[in-house]
């Protein structure tokens, strides 16, 4: 557990929770990132701008953190794996109506059975994939 970072994880998590409260209490919207993104692909009148601004806020939040010398990590790997993973994540989150944020935070917080089951399932499946890749050498 040498990489465990409990305090920054707890603080970051609390900010995610605060974001979800703010968006739901004031605007009635669910802070689920896959759902917000999908709404940009199928724009409806009066339902586009808030989505765009939320995503813009997310994408530019690093600018506020640069003064604290926080940087984004370097992410790289086999391009084909990222493409396949992206397709599966996009398709799966729409079919299952949510991702880590919509199901894992908002749904579980609302004690939704659907979200609790979905979250347990996608974490278990992802853990199995990681096990197969790192310990079996498959995939």
């Amino acid at each position: 557990m040498e990489n465990f970072t409990p305090w920054t994880s707890l603080l970051g998590g609390a900010l995610l929770g605060l974001s979800a409260v703010l968006l739901m209490l004031f605007s009635g919207k669910v802070a689920g990132i896959s759902g917000i993104l999908n709404g940009l692909l199928t724009p409806k009148k009066g339902d586009f701008l808030w989505r765009f601004l939320f995503i813009l806020g997310m994408a530019s939040s690093i600018l506020l953190l640069v003064p604290f010398s926080i940087e984004l990590p370097t992410v790289s790997g086999q391009p084909l794996v990222f493409i396949i993973a992206g397709l599966l994540v996009g398709f799966g989150t729409r079919l299952g109506n949510g991702c880590t944020s919509g199901h894992g935070i908002v749904g579980i917080g609302r004690f939704s059975t659907r979200s609790i089951i979905a979250t347990c399932l996608f974490i278990s499946v992802a853990a199995l994939v990681v096990f197969l890749r790192l310990h079996v050498g498959a995939l």
Partner: protein, 143 residues
């Protein structure tokens, strides 16, 4: 105007949360998912932190309201059925997430980092969503 400010503010808070918790680093996410390795429980603590704020606020301040402060209805799903669509969707998402350790939130929060891998992921994720929006996948699932 309120809607726009709230959307931007909550987006900034969300992105900041993703970066501060370091969930934008796929090695942190894989470190959590790799339960047979030197396990890193950080991701679980991120969810606990988020739920510690969201759950009481929802049940104390939001649940009993008929409308949000802006007068709109709450847009959470009324669907309570655990069906084949939910289970297959979560499984497919889990496979993709496990392959690279990136899910939608961290990918968007990382846009400014300039990583080609992230751009490939986001582009194909949007394609995957568009495919799922095709009618044949939206028929009612009987299982």
């Amino acid at each position: 105007m309120l809607n726009a400010i709230i959307a931007l503010m909550s987006g900034i808070l969300f992105g900041t949360g993703m970066i501060v918790s370091n969930m934008v680093d796929p090695t942190k996410v894989i470190g959590f998912l790799d339960m047979m390795g030197p396990w890193d429980p950080s991701l679980a603590v991120v969810i606990i932190g988020a739920l510690a704020v969201f759950t009481p606020c929802y049940h104390l301040f939001i649940k009993q309201r008929s409308h949000a402060i802006n007068g709109k209805e709450f847009n959470w799903t009324k669907n309570t059925k655990v069906d084949g669509k939910l289970l297959s969707g979560a499984t497919i998402f889990g496979i993709g997430w496990g392959l690279v350790g990136i899910c939608p939130g961290p990918s968007i929060s990382s846009i400014a980092g300039g990583s080609i891998s992230i751009y490939l992921f986001i582009a194909s994720m949007l394609c995957g969503m568009a495919i799922a929006n095709i009618d044949i996948f939206n028929k009612k699932c009987s299982s």
